[in-house]
Amino acid sequence: MNDIFQCGDSAALVAYLYDECAPDELALITAHLKGCAACANEIDALSATRRTLASWTPPDLALGFQITREDEPRPAKILEPRIAWWRAPLPAWAQAAAALVIFGAGLSVGAVRNTAPEPAATTATVSAVPVAAQPAASSVSRDDLAQLEARIKAELTQLRSSSNTATAVVARGSDEALIAQVKTLIEQSEENQRRDFTVRMVDLAGNIETQRRVDLTSVRQQMGLQQGAIGTELRQQREVLGRLVSERTR
């Protein structure tokens, strides 16, 4: 800031106007304004301008911004229904393991069936003549193995088809839940829209009423001004006429 204030220094006057000048400068300007009508009038005019500026108001708009995350838990997660463990489709590794277990079980059942008619002899043969007993056992088990293989294949096919059926049922179930969820969301959305619409309509009606009253007042004011002007004119004309009549009478 300048130490010496010069008359008409706009920067100093603005600083004074907004009360942002240094104390020593403030004292200088205050003293100057007491003796300088031009600067004093300038300050008064600018102050009046500032007061007028206060009337400029922005429209009262509904804002209500809000930050939300896209990765927040979404309804889609809720839409996935929980499936009971016994209804859920097995993973591939579990199906393979189950097939192996069944194959092994079938194999052992087949082996037990082949040896079932003469358990004692077999035991004895095995124990007494193990080498001689082997060819007989192997020739029987080949046929049985072929049958067993066919049976296991059939069982696997059956298992697969039942698994597909279960998956389809589960999928159908999840679809139904999904549709129900979507319906609920749509209903909620419609309800919200109805509510918003009602609120807006009420606001609009209020605003229209306010506007109507404002317009009416403006019209009344204009009419009043017009009537006043006409009345003044009439009065003046009457006065002129009166004056003319009195002059004529004289």
Binding site: V14, L46, F65, Q66, V199, N207
Partner: protein, 218 residues
């Protein structure tokens, strides 16, 4: 991440709980929490600053809807840039600067004088809702007319003068803050304010709106 506009204000005010039974947190506290990932804290900052930022944008660019877009964009940018905000300046100053830059971009895009026409809805409705039933209709009409006259007079200033006056008159910034915001020396801010006010004064006097009380100080 997204910013959701137009939530009903009533609902927003319900969401505006501080979580500490009426204890109001400072901007700095809310910024720190938001930087730590608390979105609600940032939303509280939005509630606190959306009106002033919208008012700034509206007065600078003069269009209701565009001002709202600028306001929304300002908060979105602020949120994205929040990790980089180190608190060198006040949060509000930082936010104002973002908003002003967006206003400048908008004005450049428009390539025409801003605030050249009155917005369609700038009328007694808003003024009535703002003031409430205390104000009479006559006052309302007078204020509406005066507001329109001021807005029109402001539109005739240069962008720099108008911005300086808006920041000073309606946002109470210091000369230094305006200089920082506009990236110019302090003296330039004073010149812009003086010239802008003088132009406004002449324009408003022509309209019969400014009648200074001529006080003889001699």
């Amino acid at each position: 991440m997204l910013i959701r506009p137009l939530a009903p204000v009533g609902r927003l005010s319900k969401q505006n709980g501080t979580g500490s039974r009426g204890m109001t947190r400072t901007d700095e506290e809310l910024v720190a929490r938001a930087q730590g990932g608390d979105i609600e804290s940032f939303n509280q900052l939005i509630v606190r600053w959306e009106r002033p930022i919208y008012a700034l944008a509206y007065r600078v660019i003069g269009k209701e809807e565009d001002a709202r877009d600028v306001c929304q964009d300002a908060f979105l940018r602020a949120y994205r840039a929040l990790p980089g905000f180190k608190g060198q300046a006040k949060f509000s100053s930082w936010l104002y600067r973002i908003a002003l830059n967006l206003c400048r971009d908008w004005i450049r895009r428009q390539r025409r004088a801003p605030v050249s026409q009155l917005p369609e809805d700038m009328d007694a409705i808003e003024l009535a809702s703002e003031k409430g039933p205390v104000e009479s209709i006559e006052d309302l009409v007078a204020r509406r007319e005066l507001s329109a006259i001021v807005e029109e007079a402001m539109s005739e200033l240069s962008e720099e003068q108008r911005t300086a006056i808006i920041l000073k008159e309606y946002h109470g910034m210091t000369f230094q803050e305006i200089a920082d915001m506009q990236g110019c020396p302090l003296s330039t801010v004073k010149t812009r304010l003086y010239q802008g006010l003088s132009l406004l004064r002449r324009r408003l006097e022509q309209q019969g709106q400014v009648m200074p009380q001529l006080v003889k100080r001699v």
